[in-house]
Symmetry: none
Subunit: 192 residues, 4 copies
DNA sequence: GGATAAGCGAGACGGTACGTCATGTCTTTCA
DNA sequence: TGAAAGACATGACGTACCGTCTCGCTTATCC
């Protein structure tokens, strides 16, 4: 019986907005991403954006939720050799963070989270949590105590370091990546 | 002799601008900090700001350079007990980062660095480097090899983690601080 | 087989629209009268208005046609004394035009006629013609030549003057009304 | 001592705005005259218009004050023959009011006065008063009593009738003009 | 000590984007 | 098939800042 009255929301418009936003974000960065530009590029009325999103951050958040934008790096494999798996994955993450376009996205989203409205931090959490969770899971699989809270600390340290280095304009080198994984894994090996 | 002709730059105006910028930054955050507002609050013509700084980031950078804004936390003491010293300092840093106003500044400057113009990353480096250097120095003093590059990695991890947790809206707890220092120091104890 | 297929037009909706339009017109004036507001107040879909009227002016025109809005002043009596009848009626018309709400309607409809779409002048004619015709009829009853075209000129002069004075923000006084009727009746007494 | 500080108002911009407004008014009518369009055509920032005028009506009012727009018809001559002079002038006024572009202006300004903000009626008065005053003066020159208040009533009747006929979409014919002047002059000849 | 020069507060300039409002059209469900 | 609901693209509104450009005034050095 209940099926909402009135014209239903246009899925086409929704997708066009998200596409346009991601394109412009990659091309120009977050601060030069304007609602006007998104609307124009998407071929959509400005009011439509305000109706459903209301802010740049909301649009980007939805793009993140749909997986159009992510920061997790590649998936983590489990070969049984934790040290090798983690080293490889961290190197890959660092390499991704070294890419210019990827960096633009990181900066854009960090800016969104930082200058941020109410939902901005949630956005950031959503953005990094898939990779974060995957990392914790892989660490737990190789750990003596899979519930050790230090696993989360280690994962925070990995993402935090990558982010920090991007923001200082000095992205990590593969050596720095190796040093970090070594440090953290050795630390985790010891009892807390 | 050449001692520049014309009216010299007004130190009073310079200070008023920096004061106003810091006040507004703390009060409203970086994105709501406008040149207009700074000029008005400082009782200064807008052109004067453009003449000497040219952008929001430049003003904030100068405030950082003058020590009006810093992110380093307290100074690191050296009692001979590296573990205790580092644990105490990290807890203090984390406590500082838990303060609402301090958090506003962190977010503000992160936003500046992230959505960032040309000088933004340098600004960020300048902002964190005093604390970063002090941390590396203290670590070196207690390390078997004071030139170990992993010292920098550890310092990056500390600052990166604090930053990352602020951005996700979940600032670190004292326990998380302890876990992180334990992890890193244990890692550093082992040979690379 | 019934003549008209489908759901018949809702008389209730039609009346609600006209009521709402007149209310809003009196309250806010013509320029602040919006289709949106009429639809909302009438509890009617916007499309219903576009289907049957298509413009603000059309709605107002229908309200005029139904006598919900008029500008004619009172009815003209015929006591046999043309001068007295006309003088009394003109005074009444002028008094009506001095009323604030009545003035709002006059201004509203004049605006409609002036900035007007295609039908606006027709609206204006419909609005004033009942009073105009009644006035010509009364003049004809007292005139030596009931077909004298100057009767229409005199009627135009009466309505035009009232309108003009309202628009200049200086509504007529009873004395001015008397002066005008005197002028016109004396003029009509003389042969053309 | 006092000489206003800051950049002085640009006369060029002011003139460009007035020119653009008059052009667009003549071309499109008052309701299709938008601030946006005026700014664009004048090559002026929108804010500049809002700074000095704040509304369409204010711009038009200033154009009227500067004589760029008027409704008075031609000047009234005084050949000694009042009847002939007035008949000629009224015919000219009616002829002018029959011109399509002139009519657009009349409608535009009537709309402005009618849907009108605070200053709109003053605008209308300013618009018609030069012609009105000239007419009263000419009537006074031929009248037995130059202070007769009926002279103003007659002038109001002339302008009011012309306006009314334009608004009803039935502009006056030369014959109607003659009828009106005849009516009023005969009325004025008789004692009040 | 008068000329020259540069910085100063003030404030207007042409712009861009904002977020809101109303328009007229279109598309759904319900009666 | 009419009517309500309500989303759609469009475009003007008035505001806030942007970065630039005159102004008159002030404060310095230089001839």
């Amino acid at each position: 019986m209940n099926a909402r009255r009135g014209r239903p929301r246009s899925e086409q418009a929704r997708l066009a907005v998200l596409d346009a936003a991601v394109d412009l974000l990659r091309a120009d960065g977050y601060d030069r991403l304007t609602i006007d530009a998104v609307a124009t590029r998407a071929g959509v009325g400005r009011q439509t954006i305000y109706r459903w999103w209301g802010s740049k951050a909301s649009i980007v958040a939805e793009a993140v939720l749909e997986g159009r934008i992510s920061l997790g790096g590649p998936a983590i494999v489990d070969t049984g050799d934790l040290r090798a798996d983690l080293r490889g994955w961290t190197r890959a993450l660092v390499a991704a963070a070294g890419d210019a376009e990827e960096q633009a996205v990181i900066r854009a989203l960090t800016a969104a989270a930082a200058d941020g409205g109410a939902d901005a931090d949630a956005l950031y959490r959503r953005l990094t949590s898939p990779g974060h969770e995957a990392l914790v899971t892989r660490l737990a699989a190789g750990a003596s105590d899979p519930t050790d809270p230090r696993l989360h600390s280690a994962a925070d340290a990995v993402f935090g370091t990558v982010l920090y280095r991007v923001l200082t304009g000095a992205p990590m080198t593969p050596d720095a990546a190796d040093a970090l994984t070594g440090l953290l894994l050795t630390g985790l090996d010891a009892p807390s």
